[in-house]
Amino acid sequence: MAKYIIKRVIAAILTLLVLVTIVFFLVRLMPGEPFTNPKLTPDVAANLRKYYGFDKPLIVQYFQYMGNLLRGDFGYSMHYTNKTVNYIIGQTFPFSADLGIRALCLAISFGLILGILAARKRGTKIDFFCVMVAIIGTSMPDFIIGACLQYFFGIKWGLFPVAKYQGFQYTVLPACALSFYTLAHVSRIMRASMLEVTSQDYIKTARSKGLSEVRITAKHQIRNAIMPVMTILGPTVAAVLTGTFVIEAIFAIPGMGKYYVESVSNNDYSMTLGMTVFYGIFLVFCNLIVDILYGIADPRVRIGKR
């Protein structure tokens, strides 16, 4: 197991290296440059360029950046010139992660419940309801869901605050809005997977043992059906935790999403790179966790036992 994890970590580092290299050169290819504010005089702009090392050859800049990266330093933002990227991530990530964890808990628990219910009650009204939720969730953009939640729960019925992030009741609406897509996705996959498992021979064996339907579902179906859900969970967790631009924007949450998207239009090279690497590390880590969980859920994929 330890050997396997070490292998995976090395592969992950290589992946990240390739990622950083590609993104480093790609951001330079974007039209424009960081210091285009009309208020800047040419002298000042030139000074700034020198300060950030743009006067050196690109390859030198690359190795300098990689060197800094190894020390965990993402450098100064080129837009918010007095803040480091590390500082901005440190300030915004907790909000994104907090919201993301709430949304994930909602999405996974309700997604699984809906999926299981739908499969158990296949062809009934409950199934129809669950399928409807799944279709709406996967096809409706999150800003519409967010706006609807704000309108009904915030303005019309006044149950929850519409925006800002200052306490539990502030988190309810954005977490719901953010969870909806994942919830729908999880429930859809769980339902399909459950139905597939239901027709397996070992379910018939379980029935022939005189087990109750509840026991069969709990002990025989769910554990075998959960694999495909785990597969999508790796990338989903990374994406949801590192912030989403739209949801954070409409609920005025000071998360990472805004900075990531803005950094691209501002040509804020260090910010784009820093956030991408941060996201990349997160994604690789989540996938590693999923792979380990696989082994726990299914003994057939347990690695390196002998």
């Binding site: 397996q200 021979d201 070992y202 018939k204 064996t205 379980a206 029935r207 022939s208 043992k209 005189g210 087990l211 109750s212 026991r215 002990k219 025989h220 554990r223 075998n224 859920a297 299914d298 003994p299 057939r300």
Partner: protein
Amino acid sequence: MQEPILSLKNIVYSFKTYGGTVKAVRDVSFDVRPGEILGIVGESGCGKSVTAQCIMRLNPEPPGFFEGGEILYKGKDVLKMNKKELRDFRAKEIGFVFQDPMTSLNPTMRVGAQIEEVFLGHTDVSKQEVKEKTLEILKLVGISDAEKRYRQYPHELSGGMKQRVMIAIALVSRPSVIICDEPTTSLDVTIEAQILELLLELREKLGTSIIMITHDLGVIAKICDRVVVMYGGKIMERGTADEIYYETAHPYTRGLMDSIARLDTAKDQELKPIDGTPPDLFSPPAGCPFAARCENCMAICNELPPEEYRFSEEHSTACWLQHEMAPDTPFRRPLMKGKEKD
């Protein structure tokens, strides 16, 4: 004759599908006596598996449903049992061994736990006793180092070993009947012989009745006491294994026998398959289901279902060739006096 432990009476079982109603089992009756091995033989799709699963009501319902009949187990009708009684019946009184041991065990549960589950409904046994019983049954079905296997997962076992575990699951609560649905079809021949040997041995030790579903007359010859030959959802012929082999009275039974290779089949002698395919059970034929493929088919065979003719206490067949006005064929047998018809 012993009192039967299980008897099926005029079972009619169908499946509702989008294409119409499939009449899978049409008026099937037979008895299972204590300690005997009863073979049910027939081609694929002739209703033998459905019949077997009917007994424990394992067919998916819906789309499956009983159109009529009763299944009496020790005098109690299985079809009238409520959920709790049915679960108890499955857990304690009857076991089922499925065709494919590769897919019949839950891949994510340890072997021991899968066997012990059978005792969930039993309140009168302690955990320790359950484990003892499980280890005991594992040894009984010929699994060496039971302690180790108890903790393993199905994928760590070979095919033959898995089928032994399936038999252990069926037998652990010491039921009076186990149903084996082609238990050796997906195993290779040497393992098949071992498993059949095991079933005979278990019957000897535990006195369990076995219903053996198979399409292989060789399996029947090896272990069965009595045989029921099924075709198109109906029973064609029944009798002791000897009667079926040496006094074959139905052309279909003969056809099954001619289509398998035997030691005494001469080198240049070709096997004789039965031409054609089993009848369409969406709209089964009005007469004998085998009429379309029968070399001895007569006009009446297509019009009326044959009566049952009885030759001995056990042996009977449903075939018009036994009628007094039918032409003489090698199938003709002397009828039993006073009980020509049922």
